[in-house]
Each structure stands twice: as structure tokens, then as C-alpha cells.
């Protein structure tokens, strides 16, 4: 029944090629045969853990998630590739919900930094058009089970729109899961002006500036709403691409991502956005625990931007950021966990969640916070985030839990296509280990 030859040819693909500065791995060919993972521990995230389960997928989509003893209902005459996982673990691909992955190659080299469009308001900019699928950083993240990312432009009051990208494919078109995941708003903080550094400013300039900046954001949405109504009634009204960029958010089809850390900042951001009938997502969220009831009652989720952060104040608890997820969970606020907006450290995503788990959060909930909850908050849970029938076969196989450092990610699929888990760094390691092998004459 199983076509052995097909399986061998398919597995060989992985070892071809060489790697250097970029992601130079050829992509595997589109999935022709059903892939069946048997004898697995399936961490579905949407339901219970299935020990001894079977998962199969075809055309990039999960077709069956089966408990022990159940047989997959494969199409007739198909030549499935069956992989006996011998008790290993299958997880949906982790999602780095807030990152610049693919927009930056080297932080200090301006030419490689594609994150910040000119001006305070540039919602027309969206990440998907500029994510470099050959960035060396993508395979690095991928190797540790990070298979999708919310990529965010930065800078200004409205830096642009986030895009959700899967982390393997030939082109950025392949990578794009959702080009417009929602506009980003850097919600202005009530600034405390340092009068000694800015002697020409009156001390209240901070509050005035905040008010002005917040109003300019509100004005942008008012103008976009007016344009939308005019344009709908009379399509001859010319296109304004900045207004157009906000249409989906105005219609409630996508959320608005509000970057906010302070208590006042979060509260005012939520009140503003819900008042405008927008769907706010708080990104950052350091003080979210102090306004949890507001967030819960208005169904506002939080992308916690990094667990490995220093406390806010000298007298804050040393584990303030470690315990934030637990505090939000206990108060019924929906959240996911991100790494803190650095393209090169996305691979440490599971460890942020693991720290939250060590500081009180249930381990399952912590894993949800880097998978299904991230997918839900980024509005891509129809495709990503759990091992569920109908979703993308974007998942990985590991010999343990991804929170545990020694765990090895052994196999991964992005939309059904097998991922080469090597990267620039594993190849450099191999290259130079060879040097010492030669030197020792072995």
C-alpha cells in the first residue's frame, strides 16, 4: 500500500543543496502525496493531547487528526508517505506574533533595515511586500519550530500594517498568509518632559503633545471614514491609499494593533478604539494586569511583547514581566506571547513562554500563547495555530516539549511542504567543525 520509492525520493530532497549567507535551500516540491504521521503524541492545542495518534495532510491542509487506533481515511489510489514517529511529539508551528523578521537583515546597516517608512502616518505600508524570503534570519527562527510570524513595520504614530507570514516558500507571495492583518498605531504615551534637557519647552508640553498626537490619529480615522463613505457612494471619488489602508479596520474586518505599555496608555487606547467601534489589540501590555477588567469586558486581547524584560520601576517585583501572563490569565484576559520585536531572537519564543510557565502559568496555556492564541489574535486561526482538520499543515515534530532546551526539532512542514531545518548557522558550524577535524587529523 505504501509507495516506498516516493517516500525515499521525498526525504532525499532535504539533503540537497548548500547554504550560505541567505536561505539558499531549495523548497520541496508541492505536496503530491498524502503525508501520514503515525504513532505520534499530537498536541492539537485546540483539544486534548492525543497519545499514539495519527495526523495526515494533503495539498497543504490537515485532513485528519485521529486518536489512537483510528485509521486515516485516505483518498483511493493515493500513494501516501507514512512516517512512524515512534512516540514523538507533534505541535502546530509556533507563531512569533510581533517581530520585524524579514524586514531587517543587520540592525546596524541602514540599507538592510526596511521597517520605518517616512512620516508619522504611513498605514499604506504593509510588511508582506517587503519581507525578504531569503533573509538568513528566517531559517534560523524556523529551525526552532517558529513557522509563522506577525511582521510589523515600526516608527511614527502609524507605522503601517502588519502582515502574517509563514516562514517557508520560494517567494514572499508564497510566504504571505495575511497581507493586511491590521493597521498599527503607536498610541502616544503621556510624556514626562525633562525640563533640564529641553529648557525651551514648557513643562506641560508633554501632555499637550500627547493630546495633539492622539487627536491626529483620531482625525486620520475620521477622514478615512468620510472618504470611504464618499467612495462607496461614488466610485469616481479618487483613491486615497492612506484612507484605503484603513478600510478593513473601519469595517471591523481586521483589528487595530495599539502599541501601549503604560496603564494610562493602555486604558486610553482601548477606550478610544472601542469608542470608534474598532477592534483593538494591545501590543506591549506591560501594565495590562492593572486594567484587566477593562480588557476582559471589552474583549481586548494583548500581545505581550516579551517576557524577558526588566521591571518598570526600581521597586517593582523582579519577576514583574515573568508573571504578567499568569496575572492576565487569572483575570480572564486573552493574550499571546511574543519575543520583544527583534528579528534575530525569534527562535527564543518558546523560552519566553517557558519562563511564564515557570512563574505560574499553566504549561498548556503557555504553549497556547505561542500557537493558537497568537493565530486568533492575528486573525489567522482559520489556517494556523492548532492541529485541526482544515487548517494548514504547518507543524513540527520534536523529541520533547519545545519549552525544554535539549528538545530537538526533527521535522517540520509549512503548508504541507517539508522544511529544511538547516540554516546559515548550522552550516557554518559544520564547516568549521570540519576545520578542527582536519587539524586533529581524524
Amino acid at each position: 500500500m505504501f509507495a516506498t520509492q516516493a517516500r525515499i525520493a521525498w526525504l532525499l530532497l532535504a539533503s540537497t543543496g548548500y547554504l550560505f549567507a541567505q536561505d539558499l535551500v531549495p523548497k520541496s516540491s508541492p505536496q503530491a502525496n498524502p503525508v501520514v504521521l503515525t504513532n505520534a503524541v499530537l498536541h492539537t492545542m485546540s483539544g486534548s493531547v492525543l497519545v499514539g495518534g495519527t495526523l495526515w495532510f494533503l495539498d497543504g491542509v490537515i485532513r485528519g487528526v485521529l486518536a489512537e487506533g483510528l485509521k486515516p481515511d485516505l483518498p483511493p489510489r493515493s500513494e501516501p508517505i507514512v512516517i512512524d514517529l515512534k512516540g514523538k511529539h507533534v505541535f502546530p508551528g509556533m507563531i512569533s506574533a510581533h517581530t520585524t523578521l524579514g524586514l531587517v537583515e543587520i540592525s546596524s546597516v541602514r540599507q538592510t533595515v526596511d521597517t520605518d517608512e517616512l512620516g508619522e502616518m504611513s498605514p499604506e505600508a504593509f510588511a508582506a511586500v517587503a519581507v525578504n524570503p531569503d533573509s538568513a534570519a528566517i531559517p534560523v527562527a524556523r529551525s526552532n519550530g517558529i513557522l509563522a510570524a506577525g511582521v510589523f513595520p515600526i516608527g511614527g504614530l502609524m507605522p503601517g500594517r502588519a502582515s502574517v507570514m509563514q516562514l517557508d516558500g520560494w517567494t514572499n507571495k508564497d510566504l504571505t498568509v495575511k497581507a493586511n492583518a491590521g493597521p498599527i498605531i503607536a498610541w502616544p504615551q503621556q510624556i514626562v518632559i525633562d525640563v533640564s534637557r529641553w529648557p525651551l519647552l514648557r513643562p506641560d508640553t508633554g501632555a499637550e503633545n500627547t493630546k495633539k498626537a492622539r487627536k491626529s490619529i483620531d482625525d486620520a480615522f475620521t477622514a478615512a471614514q468620510a472618504w470611504l463613505e464618499a467612495h462607496t457612494a461614488d466610485p469616481k471619488v479618487p483613491l486615497d491609499i492612506r484612507h484605503e489602508a484603513l478600510v478593513q479596520a473601519l469595517r471591523g474586518e481586521v483589528p487595530v494593533f495599539l502599541l501601549a505599555e503604560d496603564l494610562e496608555q493602555i486604558e486610553s487606547a482601548v477606550l478610544w478604539a472601542t469608542g470608534r467601534k474598532l477592534r483593538p489589540v494591545i501590543v506591549g501590555g506591560r501594565a495590562a494586569g492593572q486594567c484587566a477588567s477593562l480588557l476582559r469586558d471589552r474583549h481586548v486581547p494583548v500581545i505581550i511583547d516579551g517576557i524577558h524584560r526588566l521591571p518598570q520601576r526600581d521597586d517593582s517585583a523582579y519577576d514583574e514581566s515573568f508573571t504578567l501572563p499568569k496575572r492576565l490569565f487569572d483575570q480572564g484576559v486573552m493574550f499571546c506571547i511574543a519575543t520583544g520585536m527583534d528579528f534575530s531572537t525569534d527562535r527564543n519564543l518558546p523560552y519566553h513562554a517557558a519562563t511564564a510557565a515557570a512563574f505560574g502559568l499553566d504549561r498548556e496555556v503557555a504553549m497556547l500563547a505561542v500557537t493558537l492564541r497568537a493565530a486568533e489574535i492575528l486573525s489567522v486561526s482559520d489556517r494556523l495555530g492548532s492541529l485541526s482538520v482544515g487548517k494548514d499543515a504547518t507543524l513540527f515534530v520534536a523529541d520533547g516539549h519545545p519549552f525544554d532546551l535539549p528538545t530537538v526539532i526533527e521535522l517540520a512542514f509549512v503548508r504541507g511542504q517539508k522544511v529544511d531545518l538547516r540554516n546559515k548557522q548550522t552550516e557554518l558550524a559544520q564547516k568549521y567543525r570540519e576545520r578542527y577535524r582536519q587539524m586533529s587529523g581524524r
Partner: protein, 1012 residues
């Protein structure tokens, strides 16, 4: 001698001087002979004469006697007055022009201008003179502002110079003034750089003096002797003067004292007002402190957002600042007060009363203003008390010193009277009712007049009349009254004066008729209860001892070394024994007595504390081989490409709360490194995380080998700076060349000094003494393998370069730091360096970090390099245990060996493994207790001991949090009760808290990405 000259000068005061013009007309003779009679005279703190007279002649106190003054003296009646010795301001910064930039005879650094005299400048500006006199000050020591060595201060009289009478100088050159000021545009731009420059200049002064002596003994040496230098000459001539330090905060004060001790100078600290925060350390040497009554504004607690920002340390600093003087005095420190810091003069009296509310006595207040400054300035024979023969500097007050209603009436400066205030009320104030004489008084109601200072209100019945044109003289008052209620004429001009118990006056009607009036005083209305600020808000703070450091996590006393046994834990020994399950650790007197299998534990006395740690893990305290935690005011001296002379050990900040946070991550020892902007950076410092010790020096690991930071690649090239680089080196080639040149210079220096040392002392007299160069001296220690280089490095080429250089000069490199491409040249590192200290997995932040790989540590380890992992970040430092875990993940290093990356290996690299870094009996009890496998993210640190002292535990942390919450609540409530008003904002130098606060940003940002 000087005093005699002064006496002569005052005799001709205001009449003549050698330079003055001839008198135009007959000369005026002022006998300068008067008596302040019938006063309460406070001769000195604690000694009072009632109904006494002070006799003054020619600017000096002729006598003090009880009763009336003898004939001859002009008598000034001081009935009801209290007379104190004139106050002395010991520190009054004044603008002195910088040295002429055209002159070649000046120190290379504009921060070093010891040849300046405060007398060369603007002296005390008129407004300041007046303001000081209004407070009761009569003399001030003026000192040049700006720079590190600022020149000499001089004591002057606070009176008005004129063409014929310039500012009178009491003593010239009373002290030498120094500070640790930095620059924004050159060397030194860090506090450690300022200290290095100050030390080098003090050394140069001593050397210059020895050179002069050598030349005097052997004139032939004058050919090679150093060029004449006004700056160094000044250093020589000022060496006997007291060295005063103008400091920004209490830690700077401790640093200044260390310098004074090194150069055997008698020191005085001009403080910040925040001394109480490091009281024990400051009080130890009993160095006098000139204390500003400079207190923080109430922190902003007006909004929820504001409260979120204010820290407990700020709240505590605000509340306790008024207790500063009291605490210093109780600790036995001699204090004098200054008004020098911003904003204080206006509120001086209020500040004094606040200090007194904290328990300061009137005598202590008087001493801080008179005897103490006189003593510190060395003029106790002239000023400070009221005594026969002393200068007639006197302050006449209407009552007890700085009591709420007391006013300064007059001050006498060297016998010259300056009126400060007039008697405001000659009995006119009050409410007066006309009994007699008001026009038409028979038919209309006479108005009731209320006089209060310059304010006059007039009421007829309930109706108020307009009173305008008020002229108030001491004994008379004049005004115009208007209003219908006044009757027929409706306008009257009124002039009144006191007569006996009554008020008498004249009223003039518009038609010119005048009326003689008489009024009697009505009883004052009952006083309203004081509705100002609620009592709690102004209640003086508790005088109990304060925690060290001030803030949420300090302790009242540094925890004692415990004796205890940890039993049942898995021990990660980091020595040959690897991991021992079911182990026990016995600690006593700060040392590990036993660490091994529980079954082998020798019998322990039953009263020793046993900690059951079944299921838990114990590791040696974590060691961070690359940290910038707790370095005050500048991690990097970037003013020069070579700064081997600067020392991190000079600027240890024991207050940094990151120490506590790192203890909560099991960290017990840290290698504090200078930054990487220089090819040759500053000297590093190895400290134990002894959070809570009294003095920062107590954190230093005694006997740890010395270290120094070097740096290769983009940072010393300044390649990541915006704009054009103007400083050598600009390339990796230049970095290599500069390093080689400095090593060559150090070699020459070492040889010269060695040759000199070998000479007999008699032979040395034929030579000029050698100059000590702090920079080259540190480099000779590198050559001698007594100072370990910790070299910031990235690319393999530069690593090779340094290895070759080390070979050429025959020394061993300490560590390569960061060493991101170390995996490419591990063999060279193994041969030339003690080890490599890397990040676990950072990469991609700059071109030279693009080839970084997480297997770096493992590959180097496998190739025989001693590898450690470090943080370079306040945040990362808390998680070094799991960073070590990444060596298991990315290189399959065995777990016990991986933990050694943050315990044994950094200890070996720092040369302290004989003392710490493993669970071995005899070593320091630096331990961490973990809830789980320490290499796992599931592990929480539950307790950390340093030298056997429990410096972190979950229980103590929980208690601290509860304490913080209640203290914050209390203090925020207290600040709220004061109501609105000016509130301190971050960075405001006019606020005592922020002026003392180190606002240097964290080296790495909070999420620890950034400029490594």
C-alpha cells in the same frame, strides 16, 4: 600676620586706600565705634548673655559686657533683639573666566585649571550678597565653578565694594577645590575618566615638586627638567591646603574621600543633601561635610500615570531629606551649611525649621552656620563666635534663630551695618474705631479702620469703603478714603500716627476743612484655626535607621553569615565530581564546610539550621564574566582611544537595583567591564553581588587578579557612530597599529622605571625623578601578566591579530569577550588566551555579528578553549543558567559541563577559582538554590547566598514586596496631603533628588537588544 594687616585696613575703612583718589573737600570721619546695647547675645552655641552690649571699634569686637556700654561708643538700642555671630557661607560658587586660550602655559585639559583664583572673577554678585545678608550671612568663601581642578577659594566679607573700597578679603586661598565633572565633547566624558584625570594631575603635581627639588639640588638637571607650568606649580603650592570636593551625590562623596586618602590630603565634602542615604560609610572617616539644605520637591502623585512612575526610593529621599543634618550630626560628622545648591536661599528658613523639627537643636543650627564653617575655613580666630578681638561680623535677629516669626534686623559685616529689615509695625497694625472728631460723627457712623502692614481696609457698618494712595511709614500711615457710606463729602484724606494707646490723626475734607481724630483699638478677632496643610503632611519623618540601599530591597543591616545545612538536593558541584544526587552542603562562617553526598556529611550540631531541599538543586553562585551593572555615570570613557588609566572600581554603584534582580537569578559574582569604544579601555572590576553593604568598596573581590578591557573591530573604529569619525583608529589596521604602539610605549616605560628602581638612592639624586603615567603603568601590568585583558572581539582576523601581538610581547591574553567568530579560530584562542567568554546565541545586530552561531561556545569548548557565557545586559544576567543550557541545546555539551560555562569557567578566567565557582569545601559559600534543573527554563531561583549570607530568598522577597506596597501607600498619601504645587520632574537639576540621580541610560535597553 594676615590678621594684623586686616586690622590696619579696617581702621581706614571707607576713607582711604593707597590706590584711592584724593578726597574732594573735607574728609569725613567715622569713628567706627559703636555699641549694640541691651541685647540677648549668643556668644557661641550654648553660651548666652542676657541684657548685654557688644562694643565694636574699627571693625573689631572691642568687648562684650553685661549692662550698658561705656561712653564714647554710639549706642544702638537692641532691646528685644538677639545677636548671633555673623553666619559664614563656606561655599559660594562664582564665575571665574577660563584661562586665556592663547596662552601655551596651561594644562592640556581645560578641566584642569588649578592656577585660577576665585578672586579673579566676578566675586559675589550683588544680588547674591544681598540675599545672603538677608539670611544673616556676613562672610563667604568664594570658589570658581567649572572644571575638575577649579583653583583656590578665598574668604571674603559680604559687603558692598565701591571704587574706594573693594571687596574685603578675609583670607586668600582657603582651600583647593575639585570635582568629578565630565564633558560632553571630550575627555573625560565619564566619572571614572574624571577620577583618572584628577589622580593623574595630583600625581603630576607631586612629580613636579620632586623635579624642582632635584633641580635645586643639582642645577645641571634644569636642562632636562619639565617646562615651567603654572598648573603644576599651582598643584605644588596648593598641596598643603585642604582639598574640598564639590560632589553631586553621596557616592561621589565616597569616591572623593578615597582620592583624598590616596594623596593624604585633608578633605571636606560639599555635599548634595542626600548624604543620609549612605550615612554609615560617609560617617566612618569623620570627614566634615558642607551640607546644602537642598531637599527634593514632593514627587508628582497627581495622576495614576504619575504614581506609576514614582519610585519608592524617590519618595523616601523626599521624605527623609530634611533629616540629613540631624543624621549626620548624630553619626558624629562635623557639618556646616551652605546655600549654594539651587532654590535654597528663598526657602532657607523653612528648611532650617524642617531640620529642627527632625530634632536638630538651636545650638547645632548655630554651629552649622558659624563655628563649623569658621573651623573648616581655618578662621576660627576671626569668625564664628562673638568674642573680644574677633571681626565684628554680627547678625541681629528679632528672636530665636530661624523661629517662624523671627526676622533678621541687621547684619554687621566687619563693623559696617547693613539694614535687612525695619520694624514693620510701630503699633499701627490693628483695628481702630474713631471715638472722637470724625466729621459729622453725631449723625453718621464713623468708619472702622483696619491696618495690616501696607493694607488698609475701611468699613462703615458692613459696607466697605475704598482706600487708596496708602503710604506706610514706620510710624505713620496715610491714605484716601472714598465711599457713599462716609456721608456728605464722600472723600477724605487721612493721616494717622500712634499716640499712647490711641491712634491720632488728621482728616481733611475736599473743601479743605480739617478734623483732629482719635481712635481706640478694638480687640482682635479670635484667631481662625490653621486650615493650611493637615498635620500628617508636615509631621517630621521617622528618625529610625534607613535601609541600605535606600529603596524597596535594602536592609537595615547587612545579613550575617549563617551556619546551615542544605540537605537532599541535587548538587551541581562544577568540580571534578560533576552532579551529585541527594547531596548536602554545610556552610559556616561564610565558607563551604562540606559539599557532597548526604550520606558522607559529617555530624552537624543539632541546633544548626537544616534546609530540606529534596527535589531541588544547588549550584555554585552564577558568575557573569561580562557585565556593566552598577557602574556610575558612564560605562565608557570614550574621550580617548586609549584609556587604560580609568578604573571601573572607582565608580561601583552599590545602589543599582539590578544587583538585587541578579541575585534573584542566582548571580553572586560579576566582572564589571568598561565599554568598547576604545581599543584600550579602562580597568575592570571583579565584585561579589554584596547588595546591601555600607561601602561600595566592600563589594570588590579582594585579591582577584586585575583586568582591563580592550576592544577590536567596529566599536573602537567608531564605525557605528553617526557622522565622520575623527579619532584614530578608523580601521582594523589602525586598531592593530595603535595596540602595538601602546605596548611598545609600555615596554619602554617599564624598562626606564626598572632601571631607575635598580639605582642606589644616591645615584638617583643625579637624575630627575620619573613621572608616573597611570595609563602606561596599567599596560606594563599587561606585559607582566599581572593584568588580564578582556578583549571585546568579533571577527576571526582581529582575534588572530591580538593573538599574534600577545605572542610578540610575550603575555597571555585573559579572555576574548563576545568572540562571535571564535569558533573559526578556536585553536589560536586556546593557545594565546586563558579563555573565551561569549553570548549564547546573539547575532545579526551588526555586520561583524552576522556570522555568529549558537554553537560557538560548544565548538570552542570541544577545541580545548575554556568557555564561559556572559550577559552584557542587566536583563540577561538574570537568566545565565538557561543561557548555559543553550550549550546543551546547540552543541550537545554535557549538562554538568554546560553549567560550568557560568560557574567554574568564568571563575578560572577571572583567576578566582580557588575562592569560588564550585561547590568545594573550603571555598566561599556562594550558592544558589533552584526549584528545578538549573539549565531548564522551569527552574526558579529560590535562594542565593553570598559569603554564606542569605541575600535573596523567595520569603524575604515576598516580605519586601509587602513592605514596599505599604510604604508607597503611606508616602504617596503624605505627598497627596500637601496638595498641588511644583512637583519634581525627571532630570530636573533644580530638584535635590534628580540632581543627585545618575541618569546615564542602561548600557543595553530594557529588552537587551542593542549596542554591544
Amino acid at each position: 600676620m594676615r590678621f594684623e594687616a586686616f586690622l590696619v585696613l579696617t581702621f581706614f575703612l571707607g576713607q582711604n586706600s593707597a590706590q584711592g583718589p584724593p578726597v574732594n573737600g573735607p574728609r569725613a570721619v567715622d569713628p567706627g565705634w559703636f555699641a549694640l546695647q541691651n541685647a540677648r547675645v549668643v556668644l557661641k552655641p550654648g553660651t548666652v548673655l542676657e541684657a548685654a552690649s557688644i562694643l565694636v571699634r574699627n571693625g573689631l569686637i572691642l568687648d562684650v559686657l553685661v549692662g550698658a556700654a561705656p561712653n564714647g561708643a554710639f549706642v544702638i538700642d537692641c532691646t528685644g533683639m538677639t545677636i548671633y555671630a555673623g553666619f559664614v557661607e563656606p561655599f559660594c560658587p562664582t564665575d571665574v573666566p577660563a584661562l586665556d586660550p592663547a596662552t601655551s602655559d596651561k594644562h592640556w585639559s581645560p578641566m584642569v585649571q588649578p592656577q585660577r583664583s576665585a578672586l579673579d572673577g566676578a566675586m559675589v554678585p550683588l544680588a547674591d550678597r544681598t540675599a545672603l545678608r538677608n539670611l544673616g550671612f556676613t562672610a563667604a568663601a568664594i570658589a570658581a565653578s567649572g572644571g575638575i581642578l577649579k583653583g583656590t577659594a578665598s574668604l571674603v566679607q559680604l559687603d558692598e565694594p565701591s571704587d574706594s573700597a573693594p571687596t574685603r578679603i578675609i583670607r586668600k586661598g582657603t582651600y583647593q577645590l575639585a570635582s568629578l565633572q565630565t564633558r560632553s565633547d571630550g575627555y573625560p566624558d565619564s566619572e571614572m575618566g574624571a577620577i583618572a584625570l584628577l589622580r593623574q594631575t595630583l600625581l603630576d603635581g607631586l612629580w613636579y615638586e620632586r623635579c624642582q627639588l632635584a633641580v635645586a639640588a643639582n642645577p645641571a638637571l634644569s636642562i632636562t627638567a619639565p617646562q615651567p607650568s603654572a598648573a603644576l606649580m599651582a598643584m605644588v603650592s596648593q598641596r598643603q591646603l585642604p582639598l574640598w570636593f564639590d560632589v553631586q551625590d553621596e557616592l561621589q562623596a565616597l569616591r572623593a574621600l578615597r582620592i583624598a586618602a590616596e594623596f593624604e590630603r585633608s578633605a571636606v565634602i560639599v555635599g548634595s543633601g542626600m548624604e543620609f542615604r549612605r550615612l554609615a560609610a560617609l560617617a566612618k572617616g569623620k570627614t566634615p561635610i558642607v551640607v546644602p539644605l537642598f531637599v527634593p520637591e514632593p514627587p508628582d502623585v497627581s495622576t495614576a500615570a504619575a504614581i506609576e512612575r514614582v519610585s519608592l526610593r524617590q519618595l523616601q529621599s523626599w521624605e527623609q531629606a530634611c533629616s540629613n543634618s540631624k543624621r549626620l550630626l548624630d553619626a558624629g560628622v562635623l557639618i556646616a551649611w551652605t546655600t549654594a545648591r539651587p532654590l535654597v536661599r528663598k526657602d532657607f528658613g523653612k528648611r532650617v525649621r524642617e531640620a529642627m523639627a527632625c530634632g536638630l537643636t538651636a545650638d547645632q543650627v548655630l554651629a552649622a552656620l558659624t563655628t563649623a564653617p569658621a573651623q573648616l575655613l581655618g578662621v576660627q580666630d576671626m569668625l564664628g563666635t562673638i568674642e573680644k578681638g574677633k571681626l565684628a561680623n554680627l547678625t541681629v535677629m528679632t528672636g530665636e534663630l530661624f523661629a517662624e516669626k523671627t526676622e533678621v534686623r541687621d547684619v554687621y559685616v566687619g563693623g559696617i551695618r547693613h539694614k535687612v529689615s525695619d520694624k514693620k509695625d510701630a503699633g499701627l497694625d490693628g483695628t481702630w474705631s474713631w471715638t472722637d472728631g470724625w466729621p459729622g460723627q453725631a449723625s453718621i457712623t464713623a468708619p472702622v479702620l483696619t491696618i495690616l502692614g501696607n493694607k488698609i481696609t475701611t468699613k462703615v457698618g458692613e459696607e466697605e469703603c475704598k482706600s487708596s494712595g496708602v503710604v506706610r511709614e514706620p510710624t505713620t500711615v496715610e491714605c484716601r478714603l472714598e465711599g457713599k457710606a462716609l456721608g456728605v463729602d464722600q472723600v477724605y484724606w487721612l493721616r494717622a500716627y500712634r499716640e499712647g494707646d490711641a491712634l491720632a490723626g488728621t482728616c481733611i475734607a475736599p473743601d479743605g476743612r480739617s478734623f483732629a481724630l482719635r481712635a481706640i483699638r478694638l480687640p482682635p478677632p479670635p484667631a481662625k484655626p490653621d486650615e493650611a496643610t493637615p498635620k500628617d503632611a508636615t509631621k517630621p519623618p521617622s528618625q529610625d535607621p534607613l535601609p541600605t540601599p535606600l529603596g524597596g530591597y535594602g536592609t537595615l543591616s547587612y545579613p550575617a553569615a549563617m551556619e546551615f545545612v542544605i540537605q537532599g538536593a541535587t548538587l551541581w558541584t562544577s568540580d571534578d565530581r560533576g552532579i551529585i544526587s541527594n547531596g548536602a552542603v554545610h556552610v559556616r562562617d561564610g565558607r563551604i564546610l562540606f559539599a557532597g553526598a548526604s550520606k558522607d556529611l559529617p555530624k552537624v550540631s543539632p541546633d544548626v539550621l537544616v534546609i530540606d531541599a529534596t527535589g531541588k538543586h544547588v549550584t555554585p553562585g552564577i558568575i557573569d564574566c561580562h557585565s556593566h551593572t552598577g557602574i556610575s555615570r558612564g560605562v565608557n570613557e570614550s574621550g580617548q582611544a586609549v584609556t587604560a588609566e580609568v578604573r571601573v572600581q572607582d565608580v561601583i554603584d552599590p545602589d543599582d537595583v539590578n544587583w538585587y534582580r541578579q541575585l534573584a537569578g542566582g548571580v553572586t559574582l560579576v566582572n564589571q567591564l568598561h565599554g568598547s569604544a576604545n581599543a584600550i579601555g579602562g580597568q575592570s572590576s571583579v565584585v561579589k553581588v554584596r547588595y546591601g553593604v555600607a561601602h561600595p568598596d566592600e563589594m570588590r573581590m579582594q585579591d582577584a587578579p586585575q583586568g582591563i578591557k580592550w576592544a577590536l573591530g567596529e566599536n573602537p573604529r567608531r564605525a557605528n557612530n553617526n557622522g565622520q569619525n575623527q579619532r584614530y583608529p578608523n580601521t582594523r589596521m589602525g586598531v592593530a597599529a595603535l595596540l602595538r604602539d601602546r605596548l611598545a610605549a609600555a615596554t619602554t616605560y617599564r624598562e626606564e622605571h626598572a632601571a631607575y628602581e635598580r639605582l642606589k638612592s644616591s645615584a638617583r639624586t643625579a637624575l630627575l625623578p620619573l613621572r608616573t603615567d597611570l595609563e602606561l603603568q596599567a599596560l606594563t601590568e599587561v606585559l607582566a601578566d599581572t593584568r588580564r585583558i578582556h578583549c571585546h572581539s568579533y571577527r576571526q582576523d582581529e582575534i588572530f591579530m591580538l593573538c599574534a601581538l600577545a605572542k610578540e610581547y610575550g603575555f597571555k591574553i585573559g579572555t576574548f569577550q563576545h568572540v562571535l567568530e571564535g569558533y573559526k579560530v578556536a585553536d589560536a584562542i586556546a593557545a594565546s588566551a586563558l579563555g573565551a567568554s561569549a553570548f549564547s546565541d546573539w547575532w545579526g545586530y551588526k555586520p561583524e555579528a552576522y556570522d555568529a552561531i549558537p554553537e560557538n561556545g560548544a565548538i570552542m569548548h570541544d577545541a580545548g578553549v575554556l568557555v564561559s557565557f556572559n550577559s552584557d545586559s542587566n536583563e540577561h544576567a538574570r537568566r545565565l543558567n538557561t543561557e548555559a543550557g543553550k550549550a546543551v541545546k546547540y552543541g550537545k555539551v554535557a549538562p554538568a559541563e554546560a553549567l560550568c560555562f557560568v560557574t567554574r569557567n568564568p571563575a578560572l578566567q577571572l583567576g578566582i577559582f580557588s575562592r569560588t565557582g564550585s561547590l568545594t569545601s573550603g571555598k566561599d559559600a556562594d550558592l544558589a538554590l533552584w526549584s528545578d534543573d538549573p539549565l531548564s527554563y522551569a527552574a526558579r531561583c529560590e535562594a542565593t547566598w553570598v559569603d554564606g549570607r542569605l541575600l535573596f530568598s523567595l520569603a524575604a522577597d515576598a516580605a519586601a514586596r509587602a513592605g514596599i506596597a505599604s510604604e508607597r501607600q503611606r508616602l504617596i498619601g503624605k505627598a497627596l496631603a500637601l496638595g498641588k504645587g511644583h512637583t519634581a520632574r525627571e532630570g530636573d537639576k533644580k530638584d535635590a533628588y534628580w540632581a543627585a540621580e545618575d541618569l546615564t541610560l542602561d548600557y543595553c535597553c530594557s529588552s537587551c537588544e542593542g549596542g554591544r
